[in-house]
Every structure is written in C-alpha cells, then in structure tokens.
Point group: C2
Chain length 199, copies 2
Amino acid sequence: MLYPKILDKSIELLKRLPGVGEKSAERIALAINDFSEEDVKTLADSLIKCKIELHPCSCCGALTDEEICNVCSNPLRNKEIICVLENYKDVLAFEKGGTYDGVYHVLNGLISPVDNIGPDDINISSLIDRVNKLNNVEIIIALRASIEGEATTMYIQKIFENSNVVVSRLPYGIPMGMEIDYLDGITLDRAIKDRKKLS
Amino acid sequence: MLYPKILDKSIELLKRLPGVGEKSAERIALAINDFSEEDVKTLADSLIKCKIELHPCSCCGALTDEEICNVCSNPLRNKEIICVLENYKDVLAFEKGGTYDGVYHVLNGLISPVDNIGPDDINISSLIDRVNKLNNVEIIIALRASIEGEATTMYIQKIFENSNVVVSRLPYGIPMGMEIDYLDGITLDRAIKDRKKLS
C-alpha cells in the first residue's frame, strides 16, 4: 500500500542498482519526478537508446555506439601499447587521467573458477588475435588486486611467455593522498616488492 | 570525447540527482545498461508515467495517482489527527513506522523569507479549510528543526491560537540508537526542555 503503484515499479527497479537500497531508490525516483516533464522523457529515452545502441567495440571490447570505439579509431593513440582492463568503467577512469596515449582491451570479466568463469567466457581470444597482428607490442595489465584479477593476470602472462610481447602490470602501491597507516599489510608488503629505484 | 554521445546525455541528467556526482552518475547509467532490455524499457516507462500521472492528493497534498491518496481514502485512518509534513518523502517515512493511524497534510515546502517563500506559496490554506470542516482536530507538526521549519511551525500555531484545535509538535530528542555524545548541544538543550515525566 505504501507507494502509488506506478512509483512502486520505478523504485523496485532502481533498488537493483549497486549500493542503492529502498531509501535511496525512493529518493532517486522522487528526485527524477521533480525534473521537468521534458527532462524525464529525455532521460527515459536516452536510457533506452543506450541499451539498444551501445555494444562492445569490435576491436577492444569497450562500450561504443559505433563499429570501432573512439579510442581505437583515434590515429594519435599508440596501437602497440594495450592496457588490459576488467570493464568499461576502468576505461573511463584511465581516460579521465588524460595522459595515457595507448589503447585498451576490455575483458568484460575476470577468470573465476569459483563462479565457473573460464578464459573462454571473457574477451581474451580477441586480445590474442589482436596482438598477433602487431609487432613490438606491450601489454599493460591493470586488473584489480583480487584472486580473480591475479588468476587472469597469470593466464595472460602465460599465453605470451615465449613470444616477443612485453607483458607488464601496474605496481601495487599507495593511492595518491592516502595515509600509509590506512593501507593494509598485504598492499604494503607488495608495494615494497614493487618498489621503484630512484637512483 | 570521453563517453559515447548517447551515454553522455543520461549521465548529464543523472548528475542532477541529489548527492550524485559525475562518478555516481556514470555508475548508475552503466548499471542500468546492464539490465535486460525489457527492464530498461519498464524503468523508462514508469519514470515517465510517474511524472505524468502522479499529482498532489486534493485533500492532503501527498503524491498520488488517484484523486484522493490511499491514506485519505482509508476509512480506518483517524481523520481528526492531522500530521503536518514538509514533503511526500516524510509521509513514506511515517508509513514505514506503520503505527500512526491519523492522516497527513503535506505542505510541499516551508516558509522561508530568505528564499522569498511565504505562507501562500506552500500548501497551508487547504490545511485551514480542511480543519475548519472538522471538530476536535489535533494537528501534529513534524517539520525539520531548522529556521524554516520553526517559522512554519510558529505560523501554523498562530493561525489556530484562538480556536479549539489542539496543535502539538514532535519533541526534540534522541534518535533511536544514537549515542548521546554524538548529539549537538542545541538538540540536547531542547531535548531537556521537552523532557518527558516518567512518574
């Protein structure tokens, strides 16, 4: 009885968003209801359009509304440095940094034996195809520091073991602005192993 | 260049939600994009439907998709106890409590001279009309503890000063589960004034 029925439907669906509970879903639905009618329609329209028109880039797997995403089609990007990421959100994070001028390869998942996700279930074979067409490739693996991330990193490293492809990964370390004593022991241990010589 | 254009539009609008910045808007848009096409359409549809069909209840001002909201039309609710609230979200909060069996009156705003919002700009005149048609009314004011909330409370109190309408307000006090030392001095001062005799 709580909500009018039509509001109920919005709230029920918004509750499925990550980190959004009943209360936040309520706030989002009511805040959208405070938009002008035109804006609500534009929002609704563009959500549907995104769902229909966005698809993985046929080269790198990032979301795009064209055949090839705007990173892969950019002639200024270095096609021989490929940063391997878990998902499209990670691409956005790198692009915000703004200085990386290589390209990406989005796996859209990580290997996870527990969840029955193997190498064939994620976007790895297209990475191999892609690399085989190039010379002097460097693959920079930037996957999250978890069992799944490390399993996937090891798998990719193994594939290119006896080739001339350089495989590197982001070091474990201290995020900018973070106090050292807030970091967990495992990160610190690994950061020490990944230490960078200054002189 | 960052996002595909169609994603950009969703993110731009979602950023207008309270407490939602660029990053959260991105997460929401991409999470909705992970819904099934049917669910995205249902969500989009129901957002538009809400905007078109929800309107203030002609009796109490709460949002409803019918002429009279389901609280006002419920014969089991005591129509002579009227709880005055700032907005519809507050109605939902009370209804979740589940024991209040009176009705509501939603002001859809608070008197705020600074923002040039006077008594005529909020839903007060219909409260007066409503009360005048009843005998033995009690008005319980449950507005937020702010200058605007208190100005509105005083205004309503003044209107019914020389009538037989009982006007009360929620006491200032300690929220359930809150540690005393986390409360600010003003709340504590007022809670002492609002103290309840036990024996």
